[in-house]
């Protein structure tokens, strides 16, 4: 298992996009893009790009990007068993969680099943939900009850109770997101115990980053009270512990929150004045950390996880470039979009 996964991760890591490669993609003539995408291990994107002039490709760019990530995860997961497999398997479940949100929104706006189904991400062998059946639920209530009988019962039950009280789509999304990440943290725990600091570092970075950005958004964009903000965050054992999150949630301004962060964090966020800037800097730091893990001699599962984090960031950047090209935007606008794409939440 070790040699297979190590070799696979090393081979895959050669496909990651450097800033120069992205710059070249922006400036490349149309005819050469598909070939470059194939060369970088993105056959699904290349196929879609090739057909822009002819019959529309049946999948959207987002669907193809996620399809690509799932394909690579499928290869990496092959030799894994037990906790490691369960963790990476659940890592892909956030795409299915996004399908759950699409289904729920579709039902709330009374969309027809075919329209909802067309927007779902094809999960392939990672899929655990019967999308056909769910899309044909009569309304959000029936859909939630059907979901409660499925593999995400725990997460959905919580969301349903919240939704029944408020009928607010935000409650649903927040409950689903929190439920998912708490599930991920729970599945990471046994691996953190066996794999040690490199893996724990990746998880800590991910969860702390999510908690800080959610805290800032809920508190200062949505104006929620501190207690509710704290409740909506992911229960965590990392640098931003429960006590620290409570203290931060109680503060009244973004500047005060940033000033109250641990010293190591403040050095990563110089000059960040708004939430996107905070996220972009944290994302940059997370990329650096994932690259260090990928290039070091640490347990292969930690390297695989680091690769998947980096690959996703990569594909967000490629998506920004392809979309920009498709819309015929000037190169400088695509470069700007590229910087913003790096700040998109995973």
């Amino acid at each position: 298992m070790s040699a297979y996964l190590d070799t696979r991760v090393t081979l895959f890591s050669g496909r990651l996009w450097t800033d120069d490669a992205l710059e070249a993609l922006i400036e490349m003539p149309d005819g050469a893009v598909a070939e470059r995408l194939t060369g970088r291990g993105l056959p699904q994107l290349a196929t879609g790009y090739d057909r822009t002039g002819g019959t529309p490709y049946p999948r959207s760019l987002e669907q193809r990007i996620i399809g690509q990530i799932l394909d690579e995860t499928r290869v990496l997961i092959r030799p894994l068993t037990g906790d490691a497999r369960a963790f990476l398997d659940f890592w892909t479940a956030r795409f299915e969680m996004s399908n759950v949100k699409t289904l729920l929104r579709g039902k709330m706006t009374d969309e027809r099943p075919a329209a909802i189904l067309a927007r779902l991400i094809p999960m392939g062998s990672f899929g655990r939900l019967d999308n056909q059946d769910l899309a044909h639920a009569e309304d959000a209530g029936e859909l939630l009850r059907r979901l409660e009988a499925g593999p995400y019962a725990g997460i959905v039950r919580r969301a349903r109770r919240a939704f029944e009280q408020s009928h607010d789509p935000f409650s649903l999304d927040a409950a689903l997101d929190r439920g998912y990440y708490e599930g991920l943290v729970q599945r990471a725990q046994p691996l953190e115990d066996t794999l040690g600091a490199p893996f724990r570092g990746l998880m800590a970075n991910l969860v702390d980053r999510i908690n800080l950005v959610w805290l800032l958004r809920y508190r200062f964009n949505y104006g929620l009270p501190p207690a509710q903000v704290y409740y909506l965050l992911v229960a965590s054992r990392y640098s931003l512990s429960g006590t620290r999150l409570r203290e931060l949630a109680a503060l009244d301004s973004l500047e005060a929150v940033l000033a109250a962060l641990p010293a190591a964090w403040r050095t990563q966020l110089p000059g960040a004045a708004d939430i996107p800037a905070v996220f972009a800097r944290m994302e940059h730091a997370a990329t650096g950390q994932a690259l260090r893990v990928l290039r070091s001699r640490v347990p292969e599962i930690a390297r695989a996880f680091a690769y998947l984090i980096l690959r996703e960031r990569d594909l967000r950047a490629v998506r920004a470039v392809l979309r920009g090209r498709h819309l015929g935007l000037p190169d400088d606008d695509i470069r700007l979009a590229l910087r913003r794409a790096a700040a998109g939440l995973s």
Binding site: R112, A114, Q132, D133, A162, E164, P225, A227, Y231
Partner: protein
């Protein structure tokens, strides 16, 4: 039977308003396999809305039938027409209304059950508060500075909620638990109650209603709770009655809906492949057997009286991979077909191995498990469990019969080798001859597979592979020549010189072809050619030797029987009998199973892998009922 029936590609052009009837007619015709229509000029999908409405209606009908129970078998009148899109939409809307009403009943029942459980909890709460001597009226006063709520929330949320509430000066006190729910009192400054409202909603907090009378007179509480329970029972009964009423009232209409949806199925299914159209016209494309073209025209004329246009053509070489294979088998061969299909479906035009598979499989099984007694046992067991095994029972019966035949040839009866004289040879007494015959059979089998491969490649238009590749005629020439040389060395034949003249050029042609096909630099090309040519030689001979297992298993059968007899001889009379019976059961069950798998393995790996691509598409005709 040895290859798929010749098909024609048809495009049926008709009025879009009659598309559903055209699909129904083709489904009734029974041998139309829909396929995507690729006429660029026809850009619309006139059946997409039909399919969407049908899928929605089907889903709703399935849920209603689950609730109301099955309505009995659907008998479709031969003259019945398929519903139009407007009819289907109307039916879909009706099913939606009915299901919404049904869902409301379900929701009511679930809500009542939840309220009942909360009332039970409230009763327990009151009992506990009575014991504590707490003045509820004072505690729950709306004008007090202290806001107090009694309610329930999921147990897993309690800690998190308590931590969050503490940020606003609220306290949580848990006083009971029922399943995954904990019951708690939340108290804090009323001035900050708005701050916790959103948090409590998010956490799934359910307030327990505490009416005024409960706050003042604990005795009145019991009466109130009882009255509430009676009221809820009444509501529950009423909801149930509405649901049962729906069932009685809807039964006939649901049956009618089933019938109409069954008639609509063909167009909805065909639309999945893609029914195209433009303006008021629609086109259904697909494949039909060439032989039934006349019957198809008659059927369409009888239904549409000339209001259609049928365009036909032979499949083009470029689309061969997409053409489905329509195979027809006689009843006695059909049970063997699933064993072939578990490997793959023959490509259109490819040689279908089902018939030689059936004969060879039985032959190999009989040769490896030749025993009159054991064969008879298999035959009787397969016949006895025929109802449970279905068509597979026939495979068991045939295998048992062939095993009996080989038992006579080997002179073997329940492992006894001296009860009957062998009609041909006894593997135990002449093992070398048995091994030689097995290898000779293997040679014949491999020659057959090479010829079949050359044929398949030829019909697929890959003449180069058919003639020059290692599994083509050049490979066959090498193989036959090499076998001749080896047989001459062994003194069986006297053909060394002509055989070598056949083998040498055969191998040279194979190597030259490999060289031609390799797309690489000079060094890599040399390496690829050498390795692949060597692999050809090794594969052909290792596969031939693989057939020695046929003789080995026939010997193994005798050896196992001997082992059973040896064990039995060491026991007393009763033990002897039991050991013989159990031993024979083990031989039939275990060895019979192993031999069945080995015969299948020989067929798949030494046979099919050499000539059978198995990547064809099965002919799936449009049907009225579910596939």
């Amino acid at each position: 039977m040895l290859r798929a029936a010749p098909l024609l590609r048809i495009q049926l052009l008709m009025l879009a308003s009659e598309a559903q009837d055209a699909a129904l007619t083709l489904a009734r015709f029974g041998v139309f396999n829909p396929a995507p229509c690729r006429v660029d000029a026809l850009a619309e999908s006139p059946a997409a809305a039909y399919r969407e409405a049908w899928l929605e209606a089907e889903a709703r009908l399935a849920k209603l039938l689950e609730t109301c129970g099955d309505t009995g078998p659907v008998d479709l009148p031969t003259a019945a027409e398929a519903p139009s899109l407007a009819d289907l939409d109307e039916l879909n809307q009706w099913l939606k209304d009915v299901w919404t009403a049904c869902l409301a009943c379900h929701e009511d029942e679930a809500r009542i059950a939840e309220v009942r459980s909360r009332l039970g909890a409230l009763e327990d709460t009151l009992a506990k508060l009575e014991g504590l001597n707490v003045d509820l009226a004072h505690l729950l006063r709306p004008d007090s500075l202290l806001a107090v709520n009694i309610g329930s929330l999921p147990a897993v949320e309690l800690r998190r909620v308590a931590e969050a509430l503490a940020m606003t000066g609220y306290l949580v006190s848990r006083f009971d638990q029922a399943g995954e729910q904990v019951f708690a009192v939340i108290a804090g400054p009323r001035a900050r109650h708005d701050e916790v409202r959103g948090l409590l909603a998010q956490a799934g907090w359910r307030e327990l209603p505490v009416p005024d009378e409960l706050r003042t007179h604990p005795q009145a509480a019991r009466a109130w709770l009882e009255a509430e329970r009676v009221r809820l029972d009444g509501q529950f009964g009423a909801a149930r009655q509405v649901r049962d009423g729906l069932r009685d009232r809807l039964g006939p209409r649901l049956h009618e809906a089933r019938l109409r949806l069954a008639l609509a199925r063909p167009l909805a299914e065909a639309a999945e492949s893609g029914v195209r159209g433009k303006g008021g016209l629609a086109v259904l494309a697909g494949w039909v057997p060439k032989r039934q073209l006349g019957a198809l025209r008659d059927t369409l004329d009888a239904r549409f009286h000339g209001r259609y246009w049928l365009d036909l053509r032979e499949p083009s070489p470029r689309e061969i991979a997409e053409v489905p294979s329509l195979m027809r088998y006689p009843g006695w061969l059909a049970p063997f077909v699933p064993l072939v299909k578990s490997y793959g479906v023959p490509r259109y035009g490819e040689f279908d191995p089902a018939l030689p598979f059936a004969f060879t499989y039985l032959l190999l099984f009989g040769a490896m498990f030749g025993d009159v007694g054991h064969g008879a046992a298999i035959l009787v067991l397969a016949a006895a469990f025929a109802r449970r095994l279905g068509r597979l029972a026939w495979v068991g019966v045939a295998a048992g019969a062939v095993s009996m035949l080989f038992g006579l040839l080997y002179g073997s009866f329940f492992g006894f080798e001296d009860l009957i004289d062998p009609l041909w040879l006894s593997p135990l007494h002449d093992p070398i001859r048995a091994l030689t015959i097995a290898v000779a059979f293997g040679i014949g089998f491999i020659v057959f597979t090479l010829l079949a491969n050359a044929y398949n490649k030829g019909v697929a238009g890959r003449a180069g592979e058919a003639l020059f590749d290692s599994a083509g005629l050049a490979g066959l020439a090498f193989y036959l020549g090499a076998v001749g040389v080896l047989a001459s060395w062994a003194g069986v034949l006297d053909l060394a010189r002509p055989a070598a003249m056949l083998a040498g050029p055969g191998l040279v042609v194979v190597a030259a072809y490999k060289w031609h096909e390799a797309r690489a630099g000079l060094g890599e090309r040399i390496l690829v050619t050498l390795i692949e040519t060597l692999e050809t030689v090794i594969n052909l001979f290792s596969n031939t030797l693989s057939f020695m297992r046929v003789a080995a298993f026939s010997l193994n059968h005798v050896a196992l029987a001997l082992a059973v007899f040896t064990l039995a001889h060491g026991l007393d009379a009763a033990g002897h009998g039991i050991a013989l019976v159990l031993g024979n059961i083990v031989i039939i069950g275990l060895e019979g199973g192993i031999v069945a798998i080995q015969a299948l393995r020989l067929m798949y790996y030494e046979g099919f892998s050499r000539f059978f691509s198995g990547d064809g598409r099965e002919f799936v005709p449009l049907r009225i009922g579910k596939a």
